[in-house]
């Protein structure tokens, strides 16, 4: 079975959020909805030594939307069959069926399904399935000024880039996210760097 996926090269992501904004513009997302989010991650510490201050830091950005998981937990928990997975792997909400119970958000390890208060339904990144069906790329991918976002088939992307998860993605998720990430080069230079999201207010949603 075909499984579409995103590839993201964290090394050269400048956190510019052109992807997030392209998504918001295309889907006319109301205030408080962030189908694509850019996490600003740092870890490590500063060492004061004489007159100098030395950074021992890890710092990177992670742009993430819905990972169209292979074993999508949101689809499994949905009581009204509104959350569906297409033949090509794309997971989407049929808003006519959605009751807005938010179980999918509870089940999702990536915070992808988000509640639209005005409509009373869950919403999420649908991989710009209308564009994909027309042979175009998702809006976020075409937007990236650094060309660090790609889309393609999961197995091919895994083969090309390997398959790892990076913070804040949970390790060894049983959902099998269709997101292939090339981790930032600063990871690994410092042991035990205690990563945290420093732009919390920029990634939260309704």
């Amino acid at each position: 079975m075909k499984q579409y996926a995103f590839f993201f090269d964290s090394n050269a992501c400048s956190g510019c959020k052109a992807c997030e904004m392209a998504c918001r513009d295309k889907h006319d997302l109301d205030y408080g909805l962030r189908w694509r989010r850019v996490y600003e991650v740092t870890g490590g510490s500063w060492e004061l030594k004489g007159k100098t201050a030395l950074p021992q830091l890890v710092a990177y950005n992670l742009s993430m939307s819905c990972n169209q998981c292979v074993d999508a937990p949101c689809v499994k928990v949905c009581p009204s069959s509104a959350m569906q997975k297409r033949e090509d792997g794309i997971v989407f909400v049929d808003t006519d069926k959605c009751m807005g119970c938010k179980l999918c958000n509870w089940a999702c390890p990536y915070d992808a399904p988000q509640y639209n208060e005005k409509e009373g339904v869950m919403t999420k990144c649908d991989f710009c399935r209308d564009y994909v069906d027309e042979g175009k790329v998702p809006s976020c991918v075409a937007a990236c000024p650094m060309r660090v976002l790609e889309f393609g088939e999961l197995e091919k992307l895994k083969e090309k880039h390997g398959y790892r998860s990076v913070f804040p993605m949970p390790v060894n998720s049983t959902a099998h996210p269709a997101l292939v990430v090339k981790p930032h080069h600063s990871i690994g230079k410092i042991a035990n760097f205690n990563p945290e999201i420093i732009n919390q207010e920029e990634v939260k949603h309704a």
Binding site: S14, C16, K17, M21, D25, L48, A143, P145, M146, H185
Partner: protein, 795 residues
């Protein structure tokens, strides 16, 4: 497509009736979209029941010029995408828009758009206005211009620096053209961006064209991004992308910056934090290491430089201090060693030694200097210092190298042309742009001690200001509390007109408000900022809403009141001017450019020339300096500048680049009261002050005071706390964000937020200029707005 019949023509008919068909632009009864469609311009896109047209992203003053693909339905822009030309190669990469371009609908359709002309009713600066007619507004401005001309003369009129609207026929130059037909106005030189770098680079190289074409970066093996942050300020669309490609090609990239910018995160292998304002100390110590280790390029220095050591001094000045004299402390007794620099810069001496050796031995290497460090006290010094490092390592005139300095693009200086003719200004006097407040306070008699050019002394104080697309009247100028006081005094500036899309902080001080339309609502054209080999057309997409008019249209209407309408318009509409501009490009930079008609029909938005063999600055000079001398007094690279020597102010304007302690510094007494250095970096949410009211961008990048957790801890400040940042000039209140990506001792308040004073004198908008100083730099008379000491406390 049934939709073409649905296009609402009512607003257009109303508009053209109101104008009385004055300009050719309104001579047709078709809406702009109809017209474009008739000309075969707009295309149909599968899955979208409207029209698609590509255009330039409205030009403000970011460093990018990008292509937007607009989805238009029922005369409204309903979606914005970007350049989608089928190929995206390094020699002609797609001009992909950043987050600001992608969020543009929220600016375009903002509920606070100015709708009609207004006149002040309350005290100046209170922000109380009443609606007036266009006739009344234009009569008022015309009568004030006439009055000031006859009472004082044209030199009392000023059209300030402003970049809020910044393409060929949108922006302040439309007013310049009119004023030049009316006897002129006081001129200026310099900018708020590049004062020191544009004045100091030529003291070394004789020119500002010191940069190779950017595709050449892929030939570099080592790149020092020194205070350079192309990812956030967009120093040229694709500059960040091209550094990424250079790195993929094997270049090591090191970023030196007090802040771990997004460029440091996304483009660099290594980040070296440096105390703000100490760049020249680090440069001097690098030179110390390079020369001590015998890693300098002696052959290049011998052939091409002047003033490196005693053997190389200009005739008659043999006993003066050469560069090596300074570096090794032969006159002042202080070696500029890495150990010396460690205490000043906060960079460990081992790190200084390491990057000095890497830079001198990994060839070819680039030292690319950003502009923040030259908007500081003695901002001339790091510019000259960077150029000298490039010169003594021989990184000049080669593929993959970079001469440092301003770095305009070889061979012709690159894009950013003013083709729209403003004419020549009959008033020859010019002030440094940063000193306009001085010209208000005591203009009459100001001379060269204030950097005045073109005359011995100014013959007037400034009495009338007509600000077009400018928020530099208050928000972007230093020390807003001081400026506000100056502007409030109606005995000083007697009349202020502000022409813009929104009621900005500057607009609050207007006597007359003129509502301008946006760049989507008239014709325009842009051609790249610092870099680029393209022309982007900007067709009129939608009609100007409410009673707004284009800058050009406003000036044309005003010109009638002086009887110069024909001279001003030359009978051209905005579109006809753009047609004319394209013809000028064909006669000069782009002989192959199609006509505007064909550009429109192609509907890619852009005409671009592929760069397969990037040009190199100074290659001929390097090959044979005698045959191809530089336009400096000696024809050589002037490490020692006899021109600067003649100014006889060695403490502030030394003839060789030196580290000079800033006038507000962590090393002087002011630090006891105000121990933190503040900086105001260019934020992704804005282009200077443009977009500050864009809610999508404010949600993506909220305005915050950024502070290192160590500095916050000392003050019992927690992440998200409301804090007060203050010094003797002002104070602002904002929530803070703790981040380790900022050097301890430094706080960051991204520049450009709109000044919003509360009743107690605190700014609630987060405008860094409540804290900045109006003191100017000694040689360039440039702004030193980043030299600020502050204290911060929990509010």
């Amino acid at each position: 497509m049934g939709d073409q019949n649905k296009i609402d023509r009512r607003c257009f008919l109303k508009w053209s009736a109101m104008l009385g068909g004055g300009l050719a632009v309104s001579s047709s009864l078709l809406s702009c979209l109809d017209r474009l469609k008739e000309e075969g311009v707009v295309t149909i896109e599968k899955g979208f029941d409207g029209f698609v047209i590509r255009t330039g992203c409205p030009a403000h003053n970011c460093g990018g010029r990008c292509v937007l693909k607009l989805f238009v339905k029922d005369n409204k822009i309903v979606r914005i995408e970007t350049d989608d030309r089928p190929t995206d190669e390094v020699n002609d990469p797609q001009l992909r828009a950043c987050v600001r371009g992608r969020a543009y609908r929220r600016r375009q359709y903002h509920p606070d758009r100015l709708q009609y002309p207004m006149k002040r009713t309350g005290q100046r600066g209170e922000g109380r206005f009443e609606r007036i007619s266009w006739e009344g507004a234009l009569d008022l401005l015309a009568s004030q211009i006439k009055r000031v001309r006859s009472e004082y003369g044209n030199s009392a009129i000023y059209i300030p620096y402003g970049t809020g609207s910044y393409n060929q026929i949108n922006g302040r130059q439309t007013a310049d053209r009119l004023m030049n037909l009316l006897g002129g106005s006081l001129g200026y030189y310099n900018s708020y961006s590049w004062a020191c770098i544009s004045q100091a680079t030529p003291t070394v190289y004789g020119t500002n064209v010191t940069g190779n074409q950017r595709q050449d970066w892929l030939n570099s093996k080592y790149i020092l991004m020194w205070g350079w942050n192309p990812a956030e300020m967009r120093d040229g669309t694709n500059s960040d992308f091209l550094i990424k490609k250079a790195r993929e090609n094997g270049a090591k990239v090191v970023c030196i910056d007090p802040r771990m910018s997004m460029s440091a995160v996304a483009l660099a292998d290594e980040w070296i934090p440096i105390r703000p304002g100490t760049d020249t100390a680090l440069m001097s110590a690098m030179a110390h290491e390079i020369i001590s280790e015998n890693l300098h390029d002696k052959d290049f220095i011998d052939r091409c430089c002047l003033g490196f050591d005693r053997s190389q001094m200009p005739k008659g000045l043999e006993a003066e201090e050469s560069y090596t004299d300074y570096i090794f402390g032969r006159k002042d007794g202080q070696e500029k060693s890495p150990a010396w620099a460690e205490g000043i810069t906060g960079v460990p001496q081992e790190t200084i030694q390491k990057i000095a050796r890497e830079y001198a031995t990994t060839k070819p290497a680039m030292l690319y200097q950003g502009y923040g460090m030259q908007r500081r006290a003695y901002g001339e010094q790091p510019v000259r210092g960077g150029c000298v490092l490039a010169a003594i390592t021989g990184n000049v005139g080669l593929h993959g190298a970079w001469s440092s300095g301003l770095g305009l693009q070889a061979k012709d200086g690159g894009p950013f042309w003013n083709v729209f003719p403003t004419g020549s200004n009959p008033v020859k006097a010019r002030i440094p742009v940063f000193l306009w407040t001085e010209a208000v306070l005591h203009g009459k008699g100001m001379g060269k001690e204030y950097g005045v050019k073109g005359t011995e002394q100014l013959d007037n104080d400034l009495k009338l200001i007509w600000a077009v697309a400018s928020n530099a009247l208050i928000n972007q100028h230093a020390d807003v509390n001081r400026t506000a006081k100056i502007l409030k005094d109606e005995n000083k500036v007697e009349f202020i007109a502000v022409q813009d899309n929104f009621l900005t902080s500057s607009g609050m001080f207007a006597d007359l408000i003129l509502p301008a339309c946006t760049q989507f609502e008239t014709w325009g054209l842009e051609d790249g900022w610092k870099y680029g080999d393209e022309v982007i057309i900007m067709p009129q997409i939608v009609e100007p809403p409410f009673e707004t008019k284009s800058d050009y249209h406003i000036c044309a209407e005003l010109s009638k009141r002086f009887g110069v309408y024909d001279a001003y318009t030359q009978n051209r509409s905005e579109q006809q001017w753009i047609e004319w501009v394209v013809e000028q490009y064909r006669k000069s930079r782009f002989p192959e450019i199609p006509s505007l008609d064909n550009l429109k029909k192609e509907n890619t938005g852009v005409y671009a020339v592929k760069v397969n063999n990037p040009e190199i600055a100074f290659d001929k000079f390097r090959e044979n300096p005698e045959a191809h001398p530089l336009p400096t007094p000696s024809g050589r690279i002037e490490i020692f500048s006899s021109k600067l020597y003649e100014l006889n102010n060695p403490k502030e304007i030394p003839p060789v680049p030196k580290y000079i302690q800033e006038w507000e510094s962590p090393f002087d007494a002011s630090a006891e009261k105000y121990p933190l250095q503040a900086m105001g970096h260019h934020y992704m949410a804005r282009v200077h002050s443009t977009h500050d009211n864009n809610d999508w961008l404010a949600e993506a990048f909220p305005q915050r005071v950024f502070i290192n957790p160590m500095d916050a801890g000392k003050r019992d400040i927690k992440n998200g706390d409301m804090v007060r940042v203050f010094n003797e000039r002002g104070s602002l209140l904002l929530p803070c964000r703790l981040t380790p990506k900022l050097m301890p001792g430094v706080v960051d308040i991204p520049q450009g937020a709109w000044w919003k004073p509360d009743g107690n004198g605190h700014d609630r908008g987060g405008c860094v200029n409540t804290l900045t100083s109006h003191r100017w730099t000694p040689y360039a008379f440039g702004n030193a707005q980043h030299t600020i000491m502050v204290e911060i406390e929990k509010a």
